[in-house]
């Protein structure tokens, strides 16, 4: 327990409620993610997983309670936070190369009116290496498969050297090779002390990659160690009628 208290809190949710205008999307979220830990956000479509990620980025306001990122407000922490969007939300026809996309991760640190330095180039190349796509550096981003594009976006986040990494459904429609590469890269980031928040509807991946789970559906249905939280009762509560019981102790989620 003392060891746990020694670790730095990367993300603290304190009875936080998040709203778009007057419409509350998420209410009473409570929990802490420490450096070097990964938490899976699990819940059905429309549960507010993406909204929580946007709130941690400071793009959606916290109306009650508090969200603290790396000891400061979300907007103040942006420099040390990296966000990985879903690859299929980006225009595949956009004329940009893989290495240019990865370099975008350095923009914040390069700053206005400056060009990438040799250091920036080296960090971008190293990040691409970590997701195993160095040989595709000069290809157009849109020519890669969905899983490879997702890996490029993770490389972009790695190039930003974040202390907190936020991933929005990175495993959706991703083939086995890319899934493995993504999990490896995420594990490596954790080892280096980054905290990771990943939204997913894949319970197996949550088990595999994450130390903790946050069950979400407008409200929080549990936040804590994966084994404690991913119970049939809690999943049924989170997914309502869309969770089916299987042989007593297991649950199938029919709608994600």
């Amino acid at each position: 327990m003392t060891q746990q208290q020694d670790r730095t809190a990367a993300l603290v949710l304190e009875k936080a409620s998040v709203a778009y205008g007057h419409v509350p999307v998420l209410e009473e979220l409570h929990g802490t993610v420490h450096s070097g830990e990964a938490v899976a956000l699990i819940g059905p479509n429309g549960a507010g997983k993406s909204t929580l990620i946007k709130a941690v980025l400071g793009l959606v306001p916290t109306v009650r309670g508090r969200i603290e990122v790396l000891g400061v407000t979300p907007a103040q922490a942006r420099r040390d936070v990296a966000y990985v969007p879903q690859a299929d939300t980006l225009d595949p026809d956009f004329p940009v190369s893989v290495e240019q996309v990865v370099m975008m991760g350095r923009y914040r640190k390069i700053g206005w009116l400056r060009r990438p330095s040799a250091t920036d180039r080296a960090l971008a190349a190293e990040a691409l290496e970590r997701v195993g796509l160095s040989d595709r550096a000069r290809n157009r981003f849109g020519t890669l498969s969905g899983g490879q594009r997702q890996r490029v976006l993770l490389a972009r986040a790695i190039a930003a050297q974040p202390r907190l990494l936020l991933l929005d459904e990175p495993f959706n429609g991703v083939d086995a090779v890319s899934q493995h590469a993504l999990l490896e890269a995420i594990a490596q980031l954790k080892q280096q002390g980054a905290a990771v928040v990943v939204s997913t509807h894949d319970l197996a991946i949550a088990h595999l990659a994450c130390d903790e789970v946050c069950l979400l559906n407008r409200h929080q249905f549990g936040f804590g160690p994966t084994d404690e939280i991913l119970t049939p009762e809690r999943l049924r509560a989170t997914y309502g009628g869309h969770a089916l019981e299987l042989r007593g102790d297991r649950v199938i989620v029919t709608q994600t």
Binding site: R78, V81, P85, P92, V96, S145
Partner: protein, 286 residues
């Protein structure tokens, strides 16, 4: 007698300048899928020109100020509930042009200026027009070089740009303002209706030739300048409308590049067709 006293020389310089401007700005117009917006701007600046002519003030100033109002209106209206950018753009296009026509129809003896405005007259540009176009070209190129990487990130990944704290609304407005200023500077040469040819054609042609962003700019500029100069030359040789000639060369350049890409088998499925939902194994792609 100065070299610039020649109508044809002035027209050539003006054509080269708008060719450069159209090519460079066009790359972003194509990448962000803004040709329709550009079309709307050319029509939206129309009432400003008419009002400027009625008040006896500079036509560039009138068109420029009115165009900025159109940009603001499109940005504000497209944020309204249930509306999107194209709906607001369509209203700005038709509304702007209609307002111009109403203003013109209320006046007598205005039709000559109107023709020059709608289809342009590059052979009529004065030395002061040249100075304005050159000034606009310098400002646009400097701003685009300075904001290049930020404009690229916002164009490619809006949410990602917001996530790192970039002021996306300001950058959007900056890009739309760059397009607007380019349109206003190009109108005397090509006219309101044909300006869009130079802002879309060369960059779209370049896009058919290369996938690489760094090559898009020089290729688009080369195509833009070539088409503009060829248009002026043909116009002086056979005494036909210069603006229309330039626009036709832009169309021909695109047509040739399109044919070449068909022959090279480089055509992809149309942008509107969603990608196959079946995951393709990485090995098959390599």
């Amino acid at each position: 007698m100065s070299w610039l006293d020649s109508t044809v020389h002035r027209a050539m310089i003006e054509a080269a300048l708008v060719g450069v401007l159209g090519g460079v700005v066009g790359v972003f117009v194509i990448a962000r899928r803004l040709p329709f917006f550009t079309m709307a701007l050319t029509h939206g600046t129309f009432p400003g020109i008419v009002i400027a002519a009625l008040l006896g003030v500079d036509l560039y100033l009138g068109g420029g100020v009115f165009g900025l109002l159109v940009v603001l209106a499109v940005v504000v209206f497209s944020r309204a509930r249930g509306q999107d950018f194209t709906a607001a753009t369509g209203i700005a296009l038709s509304g702007g042009f209609a307002l111009g026509v109403v203003l013109v129809s209320a006046q007598d003896g205005f039709s000559k200026d109107l023709t020059a405005y709608t289809v342009g007259d590059v052979l009529a540009v004065s030395t002061s027009d040249l100075v304005i176009t050159a000034g606009v070209a310098v400002v646009v190129l400097v701003v685009m070089a300075a904001l290049g990487k930020e404009l690229l990130l916002v164009a490619f990944d809006r949410d990602g740009a917001s996530a790192v704290g970039l002021p996306t609304a300001v950058l959007d407005f900056a890009l739309l303002a760059i397009i607007e200023v380019t349109v206003v500077a190009t109108v005397p040469a090509l006219g309101a209706i044909l300006t869009v040819a130079l802002l879309v054609g060369p960059a779209a042609t370049a896009r058919l030739i290369t996938d690489r962003l760094v090559l898009l700019f020089p290729i688009a500029v080369a195509v833009g300048v070539s088409c503009a100069l060829a248009g002026v030359w043909v116009s002086t040789q056979w005494n036909i409308a210069a603006g229309a000639s330039i626009a036709l060369f832009c169309g021909a350049a695109f047509g040739l590049a399109f044919l070449a890409s068909v022959l090279r088998g480089r055509l992809r499925p149309a942008a509107g067709v969603p990608a196959s939902p079946v995951a393709v194994p990485e090995e098959a792609r390599a």
